[in-house]
Amino acid sequence: MKRGFALLETIIVITFVTVSLMLLYGTFTSLIEKKEENILYDDVSNIYQMYYLKEYLSLYGLEEVNTKKHVELTCDDFSISTCSSFMEQMSLEHLYLVSYGLKDYDGMSTSLRRYLSSLSNKEDYDYWLVGEFYIEDAYHYASIGVMHDE
């Protein structure tokens, strides 16, 4: 018999190849996400910057800020005249105070959600002070725990 492929045969083969490639895609995607997390999340130099920032903002009432979920902190929340240029100096684009162990990410950007879901929440803090750094066309994140009555 010299007949060519039937549509059904072609579709079965393509489906098989597609499923295989999709599995490969899934594996690569998770590897890339892990790698991105290593590069973009909690770089040690960013963590120390967040630590110093927390220490400094504590002098201006950081621990008095209260939220049940999350709040974006701006320079208007602190009476620091050099606040904007200080944030610029650190390449810090946004600053958030996020309730510890928060699972409801409504109103947050996708990149921030992904970062928050990667946090371990094993320590006993009241909030995360999360910094969103904009470095070389990418958002980097770092955070430090905050106690409300610290």
């Binding site: 072609t10 393509i14 597609t18 790698k35 120390y48 910057q49 110093y52 050099t82 070389e136």
Partner: protein, 170 residues
């Protein structure tokens, strides 16, 4: 009966459509891989060592209260002298650093430390200041990304002995 028919146009179109979808997905993966390509030139051993160096230097800043800085460029090295309770130096050579008598060598063959350490002083208010010191890491002689650089920062309380030089940029 012998069936001699090959593909119809419809079959071809469906096949091309399915293959295109798969190739588009793969293209996206390849583009993502391209963005993280730089890391292949900076060995994972160096990434771990980078974290270790930054942590050790920052901890010494915090333990001994950094109060000033001196930057000296010598023939084969740049020396950062941290003025603390007890002076400490960080010696920067092309292929290694020396801090607290410990040598931190670069594992990546094409990576080197730049002899030009960048330093910035920021006056926060009349009591506090903030500094950042950056030691660029060069890949094949070029600082391709700041992600590999060693960046130290410090929030300090001013006193009569506080002494920092003017900002230096590379």
């Amino acid at each position: 009966m012998m069936n001699k028919r090959g593909f119809t146009i419809l079959e071809l179109l469906i096949s091309i459509l399915l293959i295109s979808i798969v190739l588009l997905l793969l293209l996206r993966v390849m583009m993502s891989l391209e963005t993280i390509n730089h890391d292949t030139s900076y060995a994972s051993d160096d990434e771990i060592r980078r974290t270790e160096i930054i942590k050790n230097v920052e901890e010494s800043f915090l333990d001994s209260s950094l109060n000033g800085l001196r930057i000296d460029s010598l023939n084969d090295k740049t020396v950062l002298t941290f003025l603390m309770d007890e002076e400490q130096t960080l010696e920067i050579y092309q292929d290694h650093l020396v801090f607290q008598e410990e040598v931190y060598s670069l594992e990546s063959k094409n990576a080197t430390y730049s002899s030009c350490a960048e330093y910035k002083y920021f006056d926060l208010d009349e009591d506090y200041y903030f500094i950042t010191i950056t030691i660029p890491v060069l890949i094949d002689g070029v600082n391709t990304t700041s992600r590999d650089d060693l960046i130290f920062s410090y929030l300090g309380l001013k006193n009569e002995f506080t002494s920092y030089p003017d900002d230096t940029t590379c």
